[in-house]
Amino acid sequence: MVGSKQAAVVARYVAVVALAVFVLLPLAVMVATSLKTQRQIFDSGFTFLFTPTLTSYADVLEGRFLGYLGNSVVVGVVSTLLTLLLGTMCAYALSRFRFLGRSSLAVGTLLVRTLPPAVLAIPLYFIWNRIGIGDTLSGLILAYVALNLPFTIWLLYGFLEQVPIELEEAAIVDGAGPLRIFFAVILPLVKPGLAAAAIFTFRIAWNELVIASVLTNRTTRTAPYAVYLFITSEGIEWGRLMAAGVLVALPPLLFTFVAARQIIAGLTAGAVKG
């Protein structure tokens, strides 16, 4: 009996370690390759045993890529802040008030959440150029705020439903107006929700490629599309590509290590009760 129980524990560890290796190996390959010279990559097949060098990173950062990373930071940060502000306000309206169009807004918000990026990219390209915000960072930010609002609204709605209404009623008695209540009472109470929403929003804005590829130009390009264009340029230079890839992958990886709990809560939100 004890033996079979131990065997079960061992089997569990074998399974979980196997999955971890399957997940980590390709990531390790990416990092290792980014630290090799072109010669180390092509001379003798793949190996984890080599003398690391940062030349690929230096090469990548010498060109325009640093500027593209900067664009990505601006787009990621600004669109995240705007999404959080507008999304929480909208979730607050949905959670606390009855008003004309509330249920259509709720249903509409949920349905647009699954709009395929490929479907949006083409009309966005036409419209944005027509109204003069094509190829600008603000245009891209506007598209990302719209793209991220549905998820943020429903994530924050869940958090707002947990906040007891009595706190607001007390604030009303104290003579606070609606804006004051929202900013001084509500926002501080849904901080965990804001943190989770911020991670998901920033990640999409930082990672997105398809819409960015049609709404930006040589100056306003963001990092993921710049990486894509590295691939198509003649003769793949794996070292530089992987270095650029690691730089793009780094912020989401860091977030994951810092806030794994919130991420998992956000992933399972809505599907799992409690």
Partner: protein, 292 residues
């Protein structure tokens, strides 16, 4: 619980509604409009370019569109089935808490968090014929497959990349579902002498069914609408062997520049994903009020 002061909620909801109307609603309507016109990139809509529904019929009878649809259905079926099987299987195996599980869960979400372009890049290198790690290891047994040059192997490659990215998602969802399962039924069955296998098939899986259905729908929607990984990994090739439907839409707009064709197919894809989305909402509606 709810107050009835009508201007305040409108004030709070209006900015978000406006942005979603401009950034999501308008593009969908524009797509619908574009699907009636034969345009190239940079051209504007003129009455002479109007083709009506002809573009839809043309697009839907185009053999390359059929191929792309088949590839997409095959892809969605293969990856979602395998991800569900492996993800749920692992969750059942690992349900009992083991030391260090939270660290492992952190590791498992990594592939989902990084940019799809990085996922595509990583697997493009993994499968690279000359420099790639897989062929370096396979060389020991005398094999050197040209992964991304062979239609069957390239399809296998895009499946592996997706399985790598999203099996952990299924695993995490199933694990979260298992933690919410009422353990008294399982205890009772155990006392009655049910085998672990019977407990899984007769108690755990039925109790998990709702969350597994939600997970399945979420994965299905994503498998049907994603293109970035494949865009970087194979760009649809060789031939049309990995040309997923959204990739075909994107390429027909920005590479072959058939705007109407692309918009018409967009509407078709939108129809399918919206249907699945409605199915998802009837099962999990996060904006439903308590007791509604």
């Amino acid at each position: 619980m709810t107050r009835n002061t009508s201007i305040i909620p409108v004030m709070f909801a209006a900015p978000a509604v406006l942005v979603m109307a401009i950034g999501l609603g308008w593009p969908v309507l524009e797509s619908l409009r574009l699907s009636f016109y034969e345009l190239r990139l940079g051209e504007t809509v003129t009455p002479s370019a109007f083709r009506g529904l002809a573009i839809f019929w043309e697009a839907l009878s185009d053999p390359s569109v059929h191929t792309s649809m088949l590839v997409t259905l095959k892809f969605a079926f293969v990856v979602v089935a395998l991800e569900m099987l492996i993800g749920v299987g692992l969750a059942l195996l690992l349900e009992a808490p083991i030391r260090g599980m939270s660290a492992f869960r952190t590791i498992f979400v990594l592939p989902m968090m990084i940019a799809p372009i990085c996922v595509g890049l990583i697997w493009r290198y993994m499968f690279d014929t000359n420099a790639g790690p897989l062929n370096t290891w396979l060389a020991h047994i005398g094999l050197k497959p040209e992964w991304l040059a062979d239609p069957g192997l390239a399809f296998f490659a895009i499946c592996i990349a997706d399985i790598w990215q999203f099996t952990p998602f299924v695993f995490i969802m199933a694990l979260a579902g298992l933690q919410g399962v009422d353990h008294s039924a399982i205890e009772a069955a155990r006392i009655d002498g049910a085998t672990p296998w019977q407990i899984i098939t007769y108690i755990k899986l039925p109790l998990l069914a709702p969350i597994l259905m939600i997970t399945l729908l979420m994965r299905l929607i994503d498998a049907l609408r994603g293109l970035e990984v494949v865009y970087a990994l194979t760009n649809g090739g060789p031939g049309l062997s990995t040309e997923l439907f959204p990739l075909h839409i994107y390429k027909s707009a920005f590479v072959t520049q058939r705007m109407g064709h692309s918009a018409a197919l967009s509407i078709c894809l939108l129809f399918v994903t919206t249907l699945l989305s409605v199915a998802l909402l009837t099962r999990a509606n996060p904006l439903r009020r308590q007791g509604e």
